[in-house]
């Protein structure tokens, strides 16, 4: 397995010493994110997120299947992550590296286990027919902080996604094409966002948000906190690494909440802008057969 070349000793020392003086190589503040950009595709459910030089594409798709036998009332929801060799020569196809396993576990815990998507609403006929929602995450370019970017992309893709409208009449299930009925959004309950802190130094006393790949390579530990804008923690993962004072972890969580709220309002704004762009002539409201049920996400 090819290994990523480690930064040289000089580079490491340079980055660390600068961080000691609260200076980052790209001139950001310690608690500042790189510019976050989001573009939606022409189709529903495609989100392309760039965070500095990190770029992640997420695509949501739906298909009709049979629900799992042990959960007849639930739909199926999966997140598939792929780190291809396009990103870095250290990644190989069909052989998940540790990074990939950790990212997919984190996304799973953040989005799926926290109940962001109401899987019961995906069930059409109990035990027989349900929607299977799948999100494919492709990392196109890796310059650190993949987790935050990937999580944002997944949430954006799912909130942008529309599944075909269906109806049940007399035991007959009809799935409408987009031409017949405007597709409907998923039943979305809350939007969690990941915020990753990286710790530097022997005592882990320097905490930095949104580390670049270079910074990640010299960091001595990291902690990913997932929150939604209501102040609910969905997941915390500090998987080993340098020991950090419990009090500073609490501070990190509070700052993370501010960042998560910030990301949440950004996403809301981009989603409304996109909705306006698609809604040419204001016809969508008339075409939609759906009742407004969830006013505030």
């Amino acid at each position: 397995m090819p290994r990523e070349a480690e930064p040289s000793l000089n580079e490491k020392q340079f980055v660390l010493q600068a961080l000691q003086d609260s200076i980052r190589l790209d001139g950001r503040e310690l608690e500042q994110y790189r510019p976050l950009e989001l573009t939606f595709g022409d189709q529903y459910g495609v989100a392309d997120v760039t965070l500095g030089k990190t770029r992640v594409l997420a695509k949501a798709s739906a298909e009709l299947t049979v629900p799992y036998a042990d959960r007849p009332l639930d739909g199926i929801f999966n997140i598939a992550t792929e780190l291809s060799p396009m990103t870095s020569p250290a990644f190989e196809v069909n052989r998940p590296t540790e990074t990939e396993v950790l990212i997919s576990r984190l996304l799973e815990k953040t989005v799926r286990r926290s109940g962001a998507l109401d899987t019961e609403s995906l069930c059409l006929v109990a035990g027989q027919k349900c929607w299977s929602i799948r999100v494919d995450v492709h990392v196109l370019s890796h310059d650190g902080n993949l987790i935050d970017a990937a999580c944002f992309a997944v949430v954006a893709a799912l909130r942008h996604f529309r599944k075909p409208d269906t109806s049940m009449e007399g035991g007959v299930l009809t799935v409408y094409t987009p031409a017949e009925r405007e597709p409907v959004p998923l039943s979305w309950l809350h939007s969690p966002f990941c915020v990753t802190w990286s710790f530097f130094g022997e005592d882990g006393d320097i905490a930095v948000l949104d580390a670049t790949w270079m910074e990640e390579q010299v960091s001595s530990g990291s902690c990913t906190i997932s929150l939604n804008k209501h102040g609910e923690i969905c997941q915390i993962a500090k998987l080993g690494g340098v020991p950090v004072e419990a009090v500073s972890l609490l501070q990190c969580t509070n700052v993370a909440l501010i960042k998560a709220k910030d990301m949440s309002s950004k996403l809301d704004r981009w989603l409304t802008e996109d909705a306006k762009r698609r809604d040419k002539g204001g016809l969508l409201a008339e075409l939609s057969a759906e009742n407004d049920r969830v006013p505030d996400i």
Binding site: R95, P96, L102, E108, I236, A237, G240, E245, A246, L250
Partner: protein, 277 residues
């Protein structure tokens, strides 16, 4: 199936009769496997794990082919100047009620392996053993909540038994909070050391600290919880870790005394003040 812990508010007793700040019974042994470099057996309530440490030794031929992900490698690679910590967790099929088969590629296990490897790599003095490998294999015999915490404690004990220099004990325990995330009541009590039933129903986290300090090595929270609850849970968890540390320390000292009395090891000079009765 959800279980009703709402009775907690009436008697302030939990499903197994403990109070909020009580640990379950911890029983630990070290030097259980004669052939291994270091070994331990740990019970936290009904969670039972066994740990065997091999090394530091020369890395095997397996390296490179399946390192990293498969073994949950922590620290740096075997070619560097630090020893590599490789953790392998085997969860026995009979360890839980539903007898679920977990393959080698199970992501939850891989994540735990990686957490353990990184936790220990930060504490063990791996720089003393360049180009070598420390193998830690853990066997889960019975699961009743706080699995990750039990694994970390067992691994710490086994590393001490193997005589690998380390900064201090890494001890772990879980903490939870009564009432679910939805109820926004401020009167929710933090709970120490969750069992399986509580883990299923209540929000909780696993915290691992270094020695007697408040410094957190690992913090894993997998459930939805209000941010205001975190402080209480973390405080109780860190306090629990200190209690666990005392217990583990006693286990090690007891074993040390036994070995001196048996004459397995010489009595060191620094041990004159130690009571050997």
């Amino acid at each position: 199936m959800p279980l009703d812990t709402s009775t907690y508010g009436l008697a302030l007793l939990r499903v197994d009769g403990r109070r909020w700040n009580e640990l379950r019974r911890i029983h630990a042994q070290i030097r259980t496997q004669a052939a291994a470099d270091g070994s331990s057996y740990l019970e936290m309530g009904h969670t039972k794990v066994m740990c065997v440490v091999t090394g530091p030794s020369e890395p095997g031929p397996r390296r490179g082919a399946a390192g990293g992900a498969a073994g949950g490698g922590g620290g740096a690679g075997g070619q560097s100047k630090d020893a590599e910590v490789v953790v392998n967790i085997v969860i026995a099929g009979f360890s839980s009620v539903d007898r679920k088969r977990r393959g080698r590629g199970d992501k939850r296990t891989l994540e735990m392996q990686s957490t353990l490897a990184n936790t220990l790599a930060a504490t063990l003095h791996t720089h003393l053993f360049p180009h070598s490998q420390i193998n830690i294999s853990l066997h889960v015999l019975s699961q009743d909540g706080s699995l990750l915490a039990a694994l970390i404690n067992a691994a710490t004990l086994a590393c001490v038994d193997a005589g690998i220099p380390m900064t201090d004990y890494v001890t772990a325990c879980t903490a939870g909070s009564t009432s679910t995330y939805a109820a926004n009541d401020e009167g929710a009590d933090p709970l120490l050391d969750l069992n399986h039933q509580e883990e299923q129903e209540l929000p909780g986290l696993t915290v691992a600290t270094l020695g007697d300090s408040d410094r957190v090595v690992a913090l894993v929270c997998e459930s939805r919880v209000q941010i205001s609850r975190l402080e209480g849970m973390l405080a109780v968890g860190v306090d629990g870790c200190k209690q666990v540390r005392e217990i583990l320390d006693q286990v090690i000292k007891a074993q040390g005394q036994k070995m001196i009395l048996e004459g397995t090891v010489d009595k060191g000079t620094g041990l004159n003040d130690m009571d050997l009765d």
